[in-house]
């Protein structure tokens, strides 16, 4: 069983991240995936999150308790949800929007300038898809094909192409980061830090 939290602020497409990933896993990757959103008076700009419980068997308890994966697309969300992340978990941030503290325990940190990439592609509204591409590459919890298959119906038809492009941008960047991390590991930790700084 894996527990995932997507977080950011209202308007970034955070709930959509949970929906797309949940649909991809449940419909195309043959998993059980239960998605719940924090349902409150969230409006554009305030903290917002969606939670996904993924399992090979039926999901019983529908909420996350201690997530293995946290995606944070805003500082507020990072501050609020980072403490609940498992010590061996994966933390994924938009590096232009979140300044992380030094990582706890064995938490693996992955960072992407998702919003900047989205702006380069023409619209910051697709930052969530850049993030999902990156998330797919670095967590490997869901296949990229399933994620792409899940998009129709969950993004407007006329923006499907753009969303796919955003996904690919994030996915490729994710593969690149992974490759660099691996290279870094064989060379030793000091140089890994260096190559990350270059990026």
């Amino acid at each position: 069983m894996t527990e995932i939290r997507f977080s950011g602020f209202g308007g970034q497409g955070i709930i959509r991240c949970g929906l797309i990933t949940g649909k991809a896993l449940a419909l195309y990757d043959n998993k059980h995936a239960t998605m719940n959103q924090s349902f409150g008076p969230e409006a554009r700009g305030s903290a917002c999150s969606s939670q996904l419980v993924v399992s090979d068997d039926r999901v019983l308890y529908p909420y996350i308790t201690q997530p293995e994966i946290l995606v944070a697309m805003s500082q507020e969300a990072y501050d609020k949800y980072e403490p609940e992340l498992r010590e061996d978990g994966i933390l994924i941030i938009d590096k232009d929007l979140v300044k992380p503290r030094p990582p706890r325990g064995k938490i693996k940190l992955f960072a992407i300038p998702a919003t900047r990439f989205a702006e380069e592609l023409g619209n910051r509204i697709i930052a969530n898809l850049v993030m999902l591409g990156f998330f797919t590459a670095v967590t490997k919890i869901v296949t990229p094909d399933s994620m792409k298959k899940a998009l129709p119906g969950l993004v407007p038809d006329r923006f499907l192409e753009l969303n796919l492009k955003a996904f690919d941008r994030g996915y490729e960047y994710g593969l690149q980061v992974l490759a660099e991390k691996e290279k870094g590991q064989t060379k030793g930790k000091a140089s890994a830090k260096k190559s990350k700084a270059k990026k």
């Binding site: 949970g18 929906l19 949940g22 649909k23 449940a26 419909l27 059980h32 995936a33 239960t34 998605m35 719940n36 959103q37 349902f39 409150g40 008076p41 999901v59 019983l60 308890y61 529908p62 909420y63 899940a150």
Partner: protein, 388 residues
């Protein structure tokens, strides 16, 4: 009871990723519901939204009403006009509907109401889960009557049980409730909608005899009277007053006895046919965890933990909450040490369990006042206490 295959127009065959609220709307459309009247209220609004988008495409009607009193009244009218009709609400709206739910019971009107429960009383917790209207579903309106209530634990079951709710409402001519909650209502999961030819729906029992011979409350062999469509040329009378076979008011104890016994007995005597339960390892159990709706999923985690320690725990899930599964609980009570009853309220169904257990087994309540689901640990502790 005549079963036919679902009208493919309303069936969105395929594999979907839906929340419970949407799944209710799809279940209703598959069951042949073509009339929806409602007033939006969190956390049920998504069902209304889905209806508003979908029902015009299948030739149905969506009306946003002025309030819940009007909603339920419109449903009664639509049902007598020949349509399968439903509405959706949550606690405060359910309270407002109670008067006309009684009228629908008295007039033997088939209709379906989904209550996506939130924490109460009053406006309570609009965005958070509760199971606090479960007794209200049974006793909310005044007088003696019986209803049917189902409690889904997943979006898939929201779809399946909404079809079942329509079938039961039509079979017994009674308001039927889908008592779900915010958690299931807003939870997204895979929902499989089968092809129309695999969905069986119950058709209304139409009267086809001579126009001047129709008696709206004359009981058929199965104890359920025939219906006609208002506007089809049958002259008939129906009322909330105690009435005879003709539907005319008769204000005396004899007619009241006939009328009330019929309203209750048509459900009580068919309880075995109506009730759906899900049981696991109840035959060998020392302790049975009895629950319904989302709580039964959460409870399963506690049950697994207790079983891992060698405790013989069975589970009994009330898919049908009303009519109550008294017969089965009476059978099980002498064979077990205890029933553990978690529910997201401060004590409702537990009293029914105590009544049926009748002192033959301990009954341990695990209350939760609403706002979240149980911590499985609390249910586990109650299981441990039960076998102490």
């Amino acid at each position: 009871m005549k079963k036919v295959k679902a009208d493919p127009k309303g069936v969105l065959t395929g594999v979907h990723y839906l929340d419970g609220d949407y799944a209710i709307a799809e279940g209703a459309l598959a069951a042949g519901c073509r009339f929806f009247a409602g007033y939006p209220i969190t956390p049920s609004t998504e069902t209304a939204e889905r209806f508003a988008a979908r029902i015009p495409k299948v030739g149905g009607v969506f009306i946003q009403m002025e309030d819940e009193l009007g909603s339920i009244a419109a449903l009664i009218g639509a049902a007598w006009g020949g349509k399968k009709a439903m509405t959706v609400t949550s606690g405060p709206g359910f309270s407002l509907m109670q008067e006309n739910i009684g009228l629908a019971c008295m007039m033997e009107t088939p209709l379906v109401i989904a209550n996506v429960q939130r924490g109460g009383p009053s406006t309570g917790l609009p965005t958070l889960a509760g199971q606090q209207d479960i007794m209200q579903a049974r006793w909310g309106s005044h007088g003696d009557y019986e209803v049917i209530a189902l409690a889904p634990d997943s979006p898939q079951e929201c779809f399946d049980l909404t079809i079942e709710a329509f079938n039961l409402a039509e079979t017994y001519r009674v308001p039927t409730f889908i008592m779900t909650d915010e958690c299931v209502g807003h939870m997204h999961e895979k929902v499989v909608i089968p092809p129309a030819e695999e969905i069986e729906v119950v058709e209304r029992k139409w009267y086809t005899g001579p126009k001047d011979k129709y008696l709206p409350y004359k009981l058929d062999k199965d104890g359920i009277p025939f219906m006609v469509k208002a506007g089809d040329g049958y002259r008939f009378h129906t009322t909330g007053l105690t009435h005879d076979e003709r539907g005319y008011p008769v204000i005396n104890a004899e007619c009241q006895d006939w009328c009330v016994r019929h309203l209750c007995d048509k459900i009580r005597k068919n309880a075995d046919k109506i009730i759906i339960l899900e049981e696991d390892e109840t035959d060998t159990a020392e302790v049975i965890v009895l629950s319904y709706g989302i709580t039964s999923r959460v409870a399963t985690r506690a049950v697994q933990k207790a079983r891992d320690e060698g405790i013989k725990v069975g589970t009994l899930r009330l898919i049908t909450v009303w009519p109550f599964a008294e017969k089965r609980i009476r059978e099980l009570a002498p064979k077990v040490a205890a029933f553990v009853v978690p529910e997201i309220n401060y004590g409702q169904i537990v009293f029914e369990v105590e009544r049926c257990a009748a002192g033959q087994a301990k009954v341990i309540h695990v209350p939760h006042c609403g706002g979240w689901v149980h911590n499985p640990e609390d249910i586990y502790k109650a299981i441990k206490e039960a076998v102490k």
